[in-house]
Structure formats: C-alpha cells, structure tokens
C-alpha cells in the first residue's frame, strides 16, 4: 500500500497553471525527493499535500485514504519549513509539544515525547530557551523536533537545510539520513541541492514548470535521464553535451564529433545500447551526453587492454579539487569538463590522451530534447 499517492493534480493561481498533471506514489518508509529549478512548483506541491493550498483538480491519498479536501489538521502530516517557522513566543519545549497539545495528548505523554525527541536531536539543554536565543542550526533541529514529536503518516521537508552553512548542511544531511533509517518514516523532501537529492533519496522526482519530468531511483535519474534537462540538472559538474552526427547502420553506429581546429572524432556507439529510434536519425546531428567521470586519462601501461574509446585534446584549464582534477578541453563546438585522477600530471596547454566510456554515454534529440538512446 502506498503511503502517499498523488493522482493527476493540477493547481492554478489565477490563470497561471503552476502544477500540471502531477502524479506520483511512494511506499511507506520511502524517502522521496523533489528537485527542480526555482519556481517550478515544488513548494506548491508540498502545500497541496499538506492541505495549505487547495488543488484545482486531481486527488491526493495518504495511507490509502483520500484526503484531497481535508484540512491540514485532519491529514496527519508534519512539515519542516525552510524558514523553520518556530513559534516565537514559546520555548523550545512549547514548540515541540504544541502539536501534541492541540491533539489533546495527556501532559505526561507530551512530556515523554518532548524528552524522546530532544534526546534524539540532542537539544535537551535548549528546551527552556526561546527560538530567538538559538543559532540557525539549533533552530533547524527544533523545527525537526516539532515534526518528529508527533508521529504522523508523512513528513514534509521544504528545503530544510538551505539556510545553514555548508558544513552544517552536510552534517544535518547525514543526520536526517540516519534518522530516516532508524525511524523508517515516510518523507517528502524538497531541495535545490542535487547532492542532497542523490544522497538522501529512495526516489527522486525531477520537476520543471509544474510537470514531473522523471520519477525514479537516484540511479535511474543519474544514469538514465529521460531528457536533456534532467541529465543536465543532476550531477556536478554537470553533464557535457556535444553535437555529434550519427553515421553507420544498425549494429555499427558511429558518432562523428567535429571540433574546430582538430580532426573529426569517430566514436562507436555500443551495440548493446542501440534503440529503434536511432534508425530514423541517421545523418542527423544529435546531442551526445557525456558525464565528466566518463572520461579517464590514457594509461600507457594498459596498452591495448585499456577500455573505452581513445581521444586526445589540448587541455585549456586544470582545476584540481583535491579528490580529483577537473580538466577543460575543446570538444565539439565548445569546451567540455573531464574528471581525472588527482595524480594526473598535466598542465594547461599540453596535449593529453584520454579514453571515454561510451557504454555510459546517452544520446538526445536536440529538437525535442528527449532521450534517443
């Protein structure tokens, strides 16, 4: 049984359609991440689930029950807001207990719940403080505590970490993951940050302009993007898009990449990844998607055994990040980014031999932006 199911939900603000036919379903205990550019309707969808904004059409089910027209209080949902929205006049204890108090939970039970949550989030020493006396990270914890005190069917997190500094964000991310593993809660989580999305999610929904473009596991979203937008949105540095002409015939497709001032490069398309759609695209310029990590430095010791298709290019910029080195190289009509081992000794302006793993490459139709193979 799905914990949360959204069926063909549309939402209009006046004459603008902000959610367009959104459908998704997650199981109990699942961690769903909504990602997408600013203004794509993530918060609107969250508010629709929470019952803070009525939907224009469609249905929402929680725990098998239809709740489309129930009030927020009747939905058994807890939400953590980006701005935390702690009640300024109440202490941390009051904040955490408020939801229980409203639901007429006896005082002793409330106290126990506050203690449990405070222990879990390590905020026991802050219980008597007012929100204005807390740091950003502490407020964030209290906001989570307020949600965790009740045990609702679904938790909604709307960019809960975006007001924290980078280090704290990583720490809290890990903690949220641990909490989820420990408590097995069902969570819908909005973020801009695709690392957060990849690390936390059981499933990811990528949104744009009020539509869900793709709904799948992090692995599917990352390795099997349905279109150029999803492919470019997930991953950092993002995927390289190179124009390439499709040549050859089924069983022997090749992609010709023309780089100004260099010889054309011929990349064989793996037979295992051929699709029927390719036959109609022969002779057309398609968009080849290659992630930075699909490239590797040519290793002379491997010789003929080396995997991947060889190519060589003049490195224009070298950016060591510590864990690895990002290289900028001319390919196609622009520059691409390749990620290589940190022990690669190359300087800007030098020519470098690389190999590209075509088995992981993806092909898109540049007009419709949809995936071809």
């Amino acid at each position: 049984m799905s914990a949360l199911e959204i069926q063909r939900v549309c939402k209009d603000f006046g004459s603008t359609r902000v959610l367009q036919d959104v459908s998704l379903a997650i199981d109990s205990g699942e961690f769903l991440i909504l990602v997408g550019p600013s203004g794509c309707g993530k918060s609107t969808l969250m508010n629709a689930i929470a019952g803070l904004e009525p939907v224009t059409s469609g249905e929402i089910h929680i725990g098998g029950e239809e709740i489309t027209w129930r009030t927020p209080a009747e939905r058994d949902i807890a939400m953590v807001f980006q701005s935390y929205a702690l009640y300024p006049s109440m202490t941390v204890r009051g904040n955490i207990a408020f939801g229980l108090e409203m639901r007429k939970v006896p005082k002793a039970e409330r106290e126990a719940a506050v203690e449990r949550v405070a222990d879990l989030l390590q905020i026991s020493h802050l219980l008597e403080r007012k929100p204005s006396q807390l740091s950003g990270g502490q407020r964030q914890r209290v906001a989570m505590g307020r949600a965790l005190a009740r045990e609702p069917k679904v938790y909604l997190f709307d960019e809960p970490l975006s007001n924290l500094d980078a280090k704290l964000r990583v720490e809290m991310r890990t903690e949220i993951k641990k909490l989820h593993q420990r408590l097995g809660t069902t969570i819908v989580y909005v973020t801009h940050d695709q690392i957060e999305a990849m690390t936390l999610a059981d499933s990811i929904a990528v949104m744009r302009d009020g539509c869900i473009l793709q709904f799948g596991t992090p692995d599917e979203i990352y390795n099997d993007p349905v279109d150029i937008f999803v492919a470019g949105f997930m991953g950092s540095p993002s995927m390289n898009f190179v124009p390439a002409v499709l040549e050859g015939a089924p069983g022997d497709y090749r992609l010709r990449v023309a780089t100004p001032g260099a010889d054309d490069l011929l990349l064989p398309w793996p037979v295992s990844r051929e699709t029927a759609a390719l036959a109609e695209c022969r002779g057309r310029t398609l968009t080849l998607g290659l992630r930075p990590e699909h490239f590797s430095e040519e290793d002379a010791r491997l010789g003929e055994q080396a995997e991947g298709t060889p190519l060589s290019a003049t490195v224009s910029v070298v950016e060591p990040t510590g864990a690895d080195i990002l290289l900028r190289l001319p390919l196609g009509d622009g520059e691409i980014t390749a990620r290589v081992n940190p022990d690669c000794r190359v300087a800007a302006g030098e020519r470098l031999g690389l190999r590209v793993d075509m088995r992981r490459a993806v092909l898109f139709d540049p007009d419709s932006e949809r995936r071809l193979a």
Binding site: N47, A50, G51, L52, T71, P72, A73, R75, I77, A78, M79, F81, Q82, S83, Y84, A85, L86, Y87, P88, S89, M90, F98, G99, M102, R103, P131, S132, R146, R150
Partner: protein, 292 residues
C-alpha cells in the same frame, strides 16, 4: 545613543550650540501654555487679576483643584468633574479593549486567512479612517435610537468602537503582514484552528502593536468631545463635555484657576499614558518582522 562622529572645528561647535539654543527656546515656547495653566491653577482668584500670567503664586493653594474635582458647577449640578472623569473611563476602557481586539482579529483574518475580496474589504475599511465625524452624527443618532442605546454609555462605546475599528484594523493588518505565513501554516498542521492560532501564536507576538492601538484609541476616545456631546445623556457625559460645561457655567466671577485645574485633570490620563507607554508607542510603530 552617541554613535555619530562629529566635526570638532570651532565653527562646527558654534553651529551646534546655536542649534541647541534654538531647540531650547522652541521647547520653552511650547511649554509656556502649560506653565501658565499650572501657575494659574495654583493661585487664589484675587492673585490672578493682580499679577501677569507668569508671576508665581504668592499664596499657592490647592483649593481650585479640589473645587474642580468635587464642587464646581457644571451646568445645573455642582459636583465637580469627578463623576464625569470616571464616566470617561467607563466609556474609554471597554471601547479601547473591544476596538483593539476586533482590529487584531480583522488584521489576522485579512492577512493570514486571505479570502476573495480581502484586499477590497481592507481598502473599504481604510475609508473609515477618513470619514469626518460630523457626517455621521445624524445617521448614528438614528441608529442608536433604533438600537435603544440613545444617551447610554453602551451607545457611546459602540460609536467609538465602530470608529476605532478602521484604525485598529489598519495597525494590526500592517503588523501581521510582516509576520511570516509559515507560522500560521505550521500551527494549522499542528492542529490549531482559527481562534487558537490567533490566541496562541499571533497575539503573543503582537505586544508592540497592541500598545500602539491602545494608546491611539485611548487618546482619541478620551479627548473626544463631539460624540460625547451628541450621544451622551446627563449622567453619562464624558469629562470633556463636563469641562466645557464647567467653563461655560457663569455664576458671577470667572474662576480661571478652577477652569485650569479642571482642564488639567481632564488631560492627565492621556498624558500619563504617553509618559508610561510612549516609548513602546514609537517602538511599535517601527516594529518589523517577527523572527520565527
């Protein structure tokens, strides 16, 4: 306070001195009428005609104050302004409380439970701030008659509440606009309803604007004369009306000292409110967002 770096050249200092001198003179000028009132109210009647307005009383006396309070004639009766003074309180206190509460509820509903036409409704309510009092005297008298509230305290309270709501709604609406909507959303999800959210979440953060509303309403209603004279009965007149009657009742000699004392008694409560809460008034007017 002194966090400004100033030029220390002699010319700059001279300029500052001049400025301060001007300010002191201006302040004295504005305080002059008050000084005249205080001095006059402490003089026996025969000293008033003898000296100038600003001469100090030779034989200071509190008799004019006592007379103004307890035995001066206001029209037919000669019981001073004390009864009317309490009348004013009996009108002002409920009117202030009710208008402030309704204004707070209005502001809350207009900003946090936005409904179709909320903006229009608010714009119309703002008109209430600009309606001249005289315009509504007759229709209001009519209405009070229908309601059976003519010449009663409750009627006067009603009039002041109706007039006050436009202002208090404006105050609270503008204050609540800066309170984040997420606060209300969070409370809704926590299971609180309309009044519970108002009472537990919004009102506790509204202190600065409550102070503004109370001071504003208090001074407006306390100082009102027109409604008081038009809608009150003999027993329910506010102190402003009594003061007018006292000054206009002439039985032989004009008792300026009693008049002045009565005027000061009538002005005292608003003055006190400003002294006690004035700093919150300024703070409330400039109060911004509430951090959650």
């Amino acid at each position: 306070m002194d966090n400004v770096i100033r030029s220390r050249t002699p010319a700059a200092r001279a300029g500052r001195l001049l400025l301060q001198a001007v300010l002191v003179v201006a302040a004295l000028w504005y305080l002059l009428p008050l000084a005249v009132m205080v001095l006059t109210s402490l003089k026996p009647l025969d000293e008033i005609g003898a000296g100038s307005l600003l001469t100090l009383p030779e034989h200071p006396t509190l008799a004019p104050w006592l007379k103004a309070w307890g035995s001066a004639c206001t029209g037919m009766r000669c019981e001073g302004v004390s009864g009317y003074f309490w009348n004013s309180f009996a009108i002002v206190i409920p009117a202030v409380i009710i208008a402030t509460l309704i204004g707070a509820l209005n502001g809350y509903a207009l900003t946090k439970w936005r409904f179709r036409g909320a903006e229009l409704l608010f714009a119309l309510m703002l008109f209430g701030c600009f309606i001249p009092f005289q315009v509504i005297l007759l229709p209001m008298a009519q209405t009070l008659g229908w309601l059976g509230l003519s010449s009663s305290r409750a009627g006067l309270v009603l009039v002041h509440v109706v007039f006050g709501i436009a202002f208090t709604t404006l105050f609270f609406r503008n204050f609540y606009v800066s309170v984040p909507d997420e606060l209300v959303a969070a409370a809704k999800l926590d299971g609180a309803g309309f009044f519970r959210i108002f009472w537990r979440i919004l009102l506790p953060v509204s202190k600065p604007i409550i102070v503004v509303s109370v001071i504003w309403q208090f001074t407006q209603i306390w100082n009102d004369f027109l409604f008081g004279v038009a809608f009150s009965g003999h027993d329910t007149q506010p102190v402003t009306v009594a003061l007018n009657n006292l000054v206009n009742t002439s039985t032989g000699v004009k008792e300026y000292n009693v008049d002045m004392a009565a005027a000061m008694i009538a002005a005292l409560p608003t003055l006190l409110v400003y002294v006690l809460a004035g700093k919150y008034f300024v703070r409330g007017l400039t109060a911004g967002s509430v951090k959650g």
